[in-house]
C-alpha cells in the first residue's frame, strides 16, 4: 500500500511537471514578449532591456524553466543587485497588472471558488444520486419517466440561462434572496449561504441531471446482477439488498466522475462566477487572459491541473478501498 501510494504521488508529480512544461512553453516561447507586456505603454528600449534582465528572460530557456520550478518549491528572486525582487515560496511570479504575487492573488480568490464548487457538489451529488437510484428502483414507472424527462431538460439548459432565470424569479420578482456577492463564511455564515444558494442551485441543476442519469443506468445494471438475486435469496429485506449490496457496487462509477468534476470545478467555475459576478478563480482566469497577464494564467492553469490530478488520485484510493479487485490488481 505504501509503495502504491508512493508510486501514485510520483505519478501526480510527473503529470504536473508535464503540464508545467507545456504551459511554460506556450506562454514564454510562442508569441509576445512577456517583458513587452509588463513594460506598459511608455516603454523605452532601456527599460525593456532592464525588464528582460529583471524577469530572467535573457537567460537560456531551460534555465528560465528551472528557475520557475525552483521558485514554486523554494521561492526565488527576480533580477540582481539592489533592484532584485524577492518572491517567496510558493513563487509563481508576479501579475503584470498589479505586481501582486500570483500565489496571493489566487489564494484571495480560492475561498469563493471552493465555496461555490463544494456546496454545489454536495447538492448535486445528493440530489442527482437520489433521483437516479429511485428512478432505477422504479424503472419504467411513471415516476421514473417523469424524472428522466426532467433531468434531460435540466441537462439541456445552459448554465447562464438557468442562472439568469433563477436570478429573475428568486431575486427580482420574489425578492427572496440578495443579488449574489461573496461574503466570507467566517464573517457571516448565514450571509455566505444566502449569497451562494443561487450559484449552487444553478450549477447543481446541470450536474445533478448527469448524475441522475449516470446513477440510474449504473443501478439498473447492478440490480440485475446475479449477486443481487443471491442477496434476495438469502431473505434479506429489500432495503438491505438495495443499500448494502446494490449501492456499494452501483455507485462506484459515480464516484469516479464525481472526483473529476469536483477537481475541475475547483480550478474555477468560470461561467457561474461570471454570471453571478463572484470573484473566484474563474473570474481571475478570464481577467488575466483578457489582459494577457501570463504569470496569472499559468498559475491558475497549474492550480486547476493540480486539483484535477489530485482529485483523481483521491478517487483511485477510494476505489481501492471499495473494490478489492482494484486493491489486489
Amino acid at each position: 500500500m505504501i509503495r502504491y501510494l508512493a508510486l501514485r504521488f510520483a505519478g501526480l508529480a510527473g503529470v504536473l511537471l508535464v503540464i508545467c512544461a507545456v504551459t511554460f512553453t506556450i506562454f514564454y516561447v510562442f508569441p509576445a514578449d512577456p517583458a513587452l507586456q509588463a513594460c506598459g505603454k511608455s516603454c523605452t528600449p532601456e527599460r525593456l532591456a532592464m525588464l528582460h534582465h529583471q524577469m530572467g528572460l535573457d537567460r537560456p530557456l531551460w534555465q528560465q524553466f528551472t528557475d520557475y520550478l525552483v521558485g514554486i518549491f523554494a521561492g526565488r528572486s527576480y533580477g540582481s543587485g539592489p533592484l532584485a525582487v524577492q518572491c517567496h515560496f510558493p513563487c509563481l511570479g508576479f501579475s503584470y497588472q498589479n505586481n501582486m504575487p500570483v500565489w496571493d492573488l489566487m489564494m484571495q480568490r480560492l475561498p469563493t471558488t471552493v465555496s461555490i464548487g463544494v456546496g454545489a457538489a454536495l447538492l448535486w451529488l445528493v440530489g442527482g444520486v437520489t433521483v437516479g437510484v429511485v428512478s432505477a428502483l422504479r424503472k419504467d414507472s411513471l415516476l421514473d419517466r417523469t424524472m428522466m424527462v426532467g433531468t434531460l431538460t435540466s441537462a439541456s439548459l445552459p448554465i447562464y440561462f438557468t442562472a439568469m432565470a433563477l436570478t429573475v424569479v428568486v431575486v427580482q420578482i420574489g425578492g427572496l434572496l440578495p443579488y449574489s456577492s461573496y461574503v466570507p463564511i467566517a464573517e457571516d455564515p448565514i450571509g455566505w449561504t444566502k449569497n451562494l444558494i443561487l450559484p449552487w442551485v444553478a450549477l447543481a441543476l446541470l450536474y445533478a441531471a448527469m448524475y441522475a442519469r449516470l446513477s440510474r443506468a449504473s443501478m439498473v445494471e447492478t440490480m440485475a446482477e446475479p449477486y443481487i438475486r443471491t442477496a434476495r435469496a438469502k431473505g434479506l429485506p429489500e432495503r438491505t439488498v438495495v443499500t448494502k449490496h446494490g449501492l456499494r457496487a452501483g455507485l462506484t462509477p459515480v464516484l469516479t466522475v464525481f472526483g473529476m468534476d469536483l477537481g475541475a470545478l475547483l480550478g474555477g467555475a468560470v461561467i457561474t462566477e461570471s454570471v453571478f459576478g463572484l470573484p473566484g478563480l474563474g473570474q481571475l482566469t478570464i481577467d488575466s487572459i483578457n489582459k494577457s497577464d501570463q504569470p496569472v494564467v499559468m498559475g491558475v492553469a497549474l492550480l486547476a491541473a493540480f486539483f484535477i490530478t489530485f482529485a483523481n488520485l483521491v478517487v483511485d484510493l477510494l476505489y481501492a478501498a471499495i473494490d478489492p479487485q482494484v486493491r489486489y490488481a
Partner: protein, 322 residues
C-alpha cells in the same frame, strides 16, 4: 413426508408482444431427504419454477400452489415469503462468480444470512461461517473467510455458495445448474459434495439441470420438462431403464456413452418452441420423429404406468394392446 408440494403451477410473464407462459400447469413433490432432478433444455421453464418456489419473481404472474413445509408461497405476503428464503429454502446458482458480491469478503457473505435469520452475533456468525467453509471442503477456512470471491477458483466459489446456502440449516436446497459453469473434474466434486451434504443433513434437494448425466449421479426422482410442462415423471432408475416419452429418449440419445457399441450421437432436431405462441397440440410435435396426427391437435395428458408420461403414443399403444 413431502416437504415441497407444487400443484398446477403457472408462471406467466407479460411482454409487449403478449403473455409468455413459461410454466404451464406443473405439479410435483419433493420429499424430505430426497433429490428431485428437473431436466430440460434452456427455456423449458425449470429455472422459472425454482425462482417461483423462492418467491423471487417480480414481474411474473404466478398461480397454482407451492406448499413449502406447510407454508403456501403463491400469493403469500412478501414478508412471509422472505422469512422462508434463506431459512427454510436456500438456493445456489449457475455462475458462482457473478452470484457472489465482488466487494464483500466471503465469510461476511456467508454470515449475513445467519445474522439475519438467527439473530446471531457478528462473531458467532463468523465462527459458524468458518465452520461451514470447512464443511464444504475449503482448506484453511479461517484465512479464506477473509478473502474476496475473485481470489477463489470456480469450484471453490461454488463451494462458498453452498456454504452460504447452508448457513441457516434449510430444509430444501435448490441447485440451479450448479455445475454448468465448472470444469468437468470440478463438476464431479461439486456433485459429490452436494450428495454428501444431502445425506449428512437429510436435506431435500431440487437439482435443476439440462444434463441427464448430473441427474443420473444425484437424483432419486426425475421430472422431465418441455415448454413449461412435465412430459415425464419417474424415479431415476425407472427413467434410465425405460424412458417412455420420445423427448426423454431424445435426451438420452444425445448423451455420449462409454459402454455398449460405439455409435454416433443423435441430437434432437430443431429448437424448443416459442412460448409466446406455442404450437397447438403436443408442444414437442414439430420436433418429434414419432408424431401422429393427433399430436398436432390435442395436448396429451401426463398419465400412465409404470410412470406418467405425456405422449399420445402411449395411450394408443395401450388401446391397441387392450
Amino acid at each position: 413426508m413431502s416437504l415441497l408440494t407444487v400443484r398446477d403451477l403457472v408462471v406467466e410473464f407479460p411482454t409487449p408482444k403478449g403473455t409468455v407462459r413459461a410454466v404451464d400447469g406443473l405439479s410435483f413433490t419433493v420429499d424430505e431427504g430426497r433429490t428431485l432432478g428437473i431436466v430440460g433444455e434452456s427455456g423449458s421453464g425449470k429455472s422459472v419454477t425454482s425462482l417461483a418456489i423462492m418467491g423471487l419473481h417480480d414481474k411474473a404472474q404466478v398461480s397454482g400452489s407451492i406448499d413449502l413445509a406447510g407454508t403456501e408461497v403463491v400469493g403469500a405476503d412478501r414478508e412471509k415469503v422472505r422469512a422462508l428464503r434463506g431459512r427454510r429454502v436456500a438456493m445456489i446458482f449457475q455462475d458462482p462468480l457473478s452470484s457472489l458480491h465482488p466487494h464483500y469478503r466471503v465469510g461476511e457473505q456467508i454470515a449475513e444470512a445467519r445474522r439475519l435469520h438467527f439473530g446471531a452475533s457478528r462473531r458467532a456468525a463468523h465462527k459458524h461461517a468458518v465452520q461451514l467453509l470447512a464443511d464444504v471442503g475449503i482448506p484453511h477456512p479461517d484465512e479464506r473467510a477473509g478473502d474476496y470471491p475473485h481470489q477463489f477458483s470456480g469450484g471453490m466459489r461454488q463451494r462458498v455458495m453452498i456454504a452460504m446456502a447452508l448457513a441457516c440449516e434449510p430444509d430444501l436446497l435448490i441447485a440451479d445448474e450448479p455445475t454448468t459453469a465448472l470444469d468437468v473434474t470440478v463438476q464431479a466434486q461439486i456433485l459429490e459434495l452436494i450428495a454428501r451434504i444431502q445425506r449428512e443433513r437429510g436435506l431435500a434437494v431440487l437439482m435443476i439441470t439440462h444434463d441427464l448425466g448430473v441427474v443420473a449421479r444425484v437424483a432419486d426422482d426425475v421430472l422431465v420438462m418441455y415448454a413449461g410442462r412435465a412430459v415425464e415423471q419417474a424415479t431415476a432408475d425407472e427413467l434410465f431403464a425405460g424412458p417412455r416419452h420420445p423427448y426423454t429418449r431424445g435426451l438420452l440419445g444425445s448423451l455420449p456413452r462409454l459402454t455398449g457399441p460405439p455409435g454416433e450421437l443423435t441430437p434432437i432436431p430443431g429448437a424448443p418452441p416459442s412460448l409466446l405462441r406455442p404450437p397447438a397440440g403436443c408442444p414437442f410435435h414439430p420436433r418429434c420423429s414419432e408424431r401422429i396426427d393427433v399430436c398436432e391437435t390435442t395436448r396429451p395428458a401426463l398419465q400412465g404406468a409404470p410412470h406418467p408420461a405425456a405422449c399420445h403414443l402411449l395411450t394408443i399403444e395401450k388401446e391397441v394392446a387392450g
